[in-house]
């Protein structure tokens, strides 16, 4: 039984820039008679930060689950690293994609270091194991948690817990990162930091899909923005193309205005007040 033996060392090749790391093709998800996704097609490429935005209940987390291989679509296909998602074994998938869910409870009082080290589990018994210590130290440093390494998870604040979960995902060193609202519990500084980390991973060749609510954050940091509305893809493209007042006003069912940042020229999206 594989559970009791070490997994064979079939290690992923680093992707080339522009490779399609995850692809949803005409994906339909129906749960309990409700159509959560209705024919969505989206690709995540190596080297890009793709922001996924949209109103509550638009299907962002569902799409992320589908791209992660957690949820099999009712219709349509999903491939990860060029192969159909169901054809990957659990551990092979874990070496290729890391997922940060919205909520990350930990049942026992593990310390921060132990939680981050769990991110290295997919590499147990492979040559990549030699990189464990560096990857964990880097993930802690990147999330400014080095000083918290011996604190236990339940004693951390909400934001610190969120950063610990992110550090675990970073330590996993997968080339496809799927982050579901990584900035939700964070202050301004750490929000910027998370997106800078996403950018750094992308420039090292990873593909990053990040679900965001703050359109300004998405416009400032993402290469492309995908807008989901009521289970369908309303628009996908560079921030300048997507951040149009009439599109976003329709999607969010609230009037918005888009202005240009005086220094960077990036679009800023504000609700009309």
């Amino acid at each position: 039984m594989r559970l009791l033996s070490r997994a064979p060392a079939r290690l992923p090749e680093p992707p080339a820039e522009g490779d399609v790391l995850a692809e949803a093709d005409a994906v339909v998800v129906t749960i309990g008679g409700k159509r959560l996704l209705d024919g969505v097609s989206l690709r995540v490429h190596a080297g890009e930060v793709l922001a996924l935005v949209g109103p509550n209940g638009a299907g962002k987390s569902t799409l992320l689950s589908v791209l992660a291989g957690d949820l099999a679509p009712s219709a349509g296909t999903v491939s990860i690293h060029g192969r159909p998602a169901p054809s990957w074994s659990t551990v092979d998938l874990a070496r290729r994609r890391a997922v940060l869910p919205q909520h990350n409870p930990v049942s026992f009082p593990f310390d921060v270091l132990a939680v981050v080290e769990m991110g290295r589990a997919p590499w147990e018994g492979t040559p990549a194991e030699d990189d464990d210590e560096r990857a964990v130290a880097a993930a802690l440093a990147d999330t400014e948690l080095t000083a918290f390494a011996t604190r236990t998870y339940p004693t951390l604040s909400g934001g610190e817990q969120a950063r610990t979960a992110l550090a675990r995902v970073l330590a996993q060193s997968a080339s496809l990162l799927l982050l579901d609202e990584p900035t939700a519990a964070l202050d301004l500084r750490h929000q910027e930091q998370v997106l800078a980390l996403a950018r750094a991973r992308a420039s090292e060749g990873a593909g990053v899909l990040v679900v965001l609510h703050d359109l300004g954050l998405a416009a400032a940091h993402a290469d492309r923005i995908a807008v989901l509305a009521a289970g369908g893809l309303a628009e996908a493209g560079p921030p300048e193309d997507v951040c149009r007042a009439e599109l976003l006003s329709g999607v969010y069912q609230h009037p918005v205005e888009v202005i240009s940042h005086p220094r960077t020229g990036k679009p800023i999206v504000l609700p009309y007040r």
Partner: protein, 365 residues
């Protein structure tokens, strides 16, 4: 002027290794447990209605393995009492206690909640039903192993029932788990009550004492049948340890890290059912060891299963050997039921645990 702050670090910079945990604490724990085990075992073999000096106990053991340092008891009756009555009982106490400790840790890790215990979720009473069946109907189709075998079968079925019933959306909530345990225990107790009603005088007496839990009448044959199961259970648990750690993150997160969650749960539950059913089939129901021991260990060395599992093995063995020493010697000419003793300590501990968790985390859902 615009204030500037340093940009966030990215993985290229100089890395400060994170502070390490103290391995000294783990070493100290294992030393204390091992020394405690040896002391309690010797004391347990020495003390009794027929006192044998501790030096002679040690001497007798050393003589058998060919080391002539200390004198064995000169009296052949004392030698026989040691080897035919006390040693099997001490060893059985160690094995049963160790199994209960390890299985408590496994169940808690497997369900990702600290209240899971073979007894709490009704595995022990499930095994009791099988044992009672064989006692009442006098079944002997598997010879002397009929009772353990039936206890094992019903124990396994009960465990799987609890597993299936308590899960929803991939997690077994604490309240659901305890209520499932209540329900399963109720049904099992009803079955036991019926069997008591249906049985004759001798069977009733046997069932009552089986349920109280006792290590009286331990024999080497019992030790020989459960020792291999204990060894397998501990070995498999150690192989599963790192994956059990990952289950603390939740099923979905564990799967993202490459854990085949369903197989892991199934293997864990089968290991627990095999080991616990085998243990309680000889000793009767001994509650709370599996609950108390892993908790105490976690408070000392943290929740990592690679330390927790072997430490719970030693801790469970130590606790039950000490409880048995007390059970045999608290009253003259009376052998107290050991299950009663562990419940007497375990019940209040369980309650304290509930209060403590409620204070810290605002209760369970």
């Amino acid at each position: 002027m615009t204030a500037t702050v340093s940009p966030p670090v990215t993985s290229g910079g100089d890395l400060v290794p994170p502070p390490r945990r103290r391995p000294a604490r783990v070493a100290a724990l294992f030393t204390v447990l091992t020394v405690g085990l040896v002391m309690v075992s010797i004391a347990s073999a020495a003390v009794g209605q027929f006192g044998i000096p501790a030096s002679q106990v040690v001497g007798s053991v050393l003589n058998r393995i060919g080391i002539d340092v200390l004198a064995a008891p000169a009296d052949p009756f004392a030698e026989a009492a040691l080897w035919d009555v006390r040693f099997p009982r001490v060893v059985l106490a160690l094995l049963v206690g160790g199994v209960l400790g390890v299985c408590g840790a496994l169940m808690q890790g497997c369900f990702g909640n600290p209240l899971a215990e073979p007894g709490v979720v009704g595995v022990s009473s499930g095994a009791a039903v099988g044992a009672c069946l064989s006692i009442v109907f006098g079944w002997t189709f598997l010879g002397a192993f009929t009772t353990p075998a039936l206890a094992f079968a019903t124990g396994l079925v009960t465990t799987l029932a609890v597993y299936v019933l308590a899960r929803s959306k991939g997690r077994a909530g604490v309240v659901t788990m305890i209520l499932t345990g209540v329900a399963v225990n109720a049904v099992a107790n009803a079955a036991i009550a019926f069997l008591v009603f249906a049985g004759d005088q001798a069977a009733r007496e046997q069932i009552v004492f089986w349920q109280l839990g006792s290590l009286a009448g331990s024999r080497w044959a019992y030790v020989a049948t459960i020792a291999p199961l204990v060894a397998v259970c501990v070995a498999v648990s150690m192989l599963l340890a790192r994956r059990l750690d990952l289950l603390a993150l939740g099923d979905r997160q564990a799967r993202h890290l490459g854990v085949d969650v369903e197989s892991l749960r199934l293997v864990t539950i089968v290991v627990v059912a095999v080991a616990v059913s085998a243990a309680v089939s000889y000793s009767g129901i001994i509650g709370f060891v599996g609950l108390v021991v892993p908790h105490l260990i976690r408070m000392i060395t943290g929740p990592g299963h690679r330390v927790l599992i072997p430490a719970s093995l030693l801790g469970g063995a130590l606790l039950l050997a000490a409880a048995d020493l007390l059970a045999r010697n608290a009253f003259h000419y009376a052998d107290l039921p050991i299950g009663m003793l562990t419940a007497l300590v375990g019940g209040p501990f369980f309650f304290w645990l509930l209060l403590r968790t409620r204070r810290r985390e605002g209760g369970w859902t």
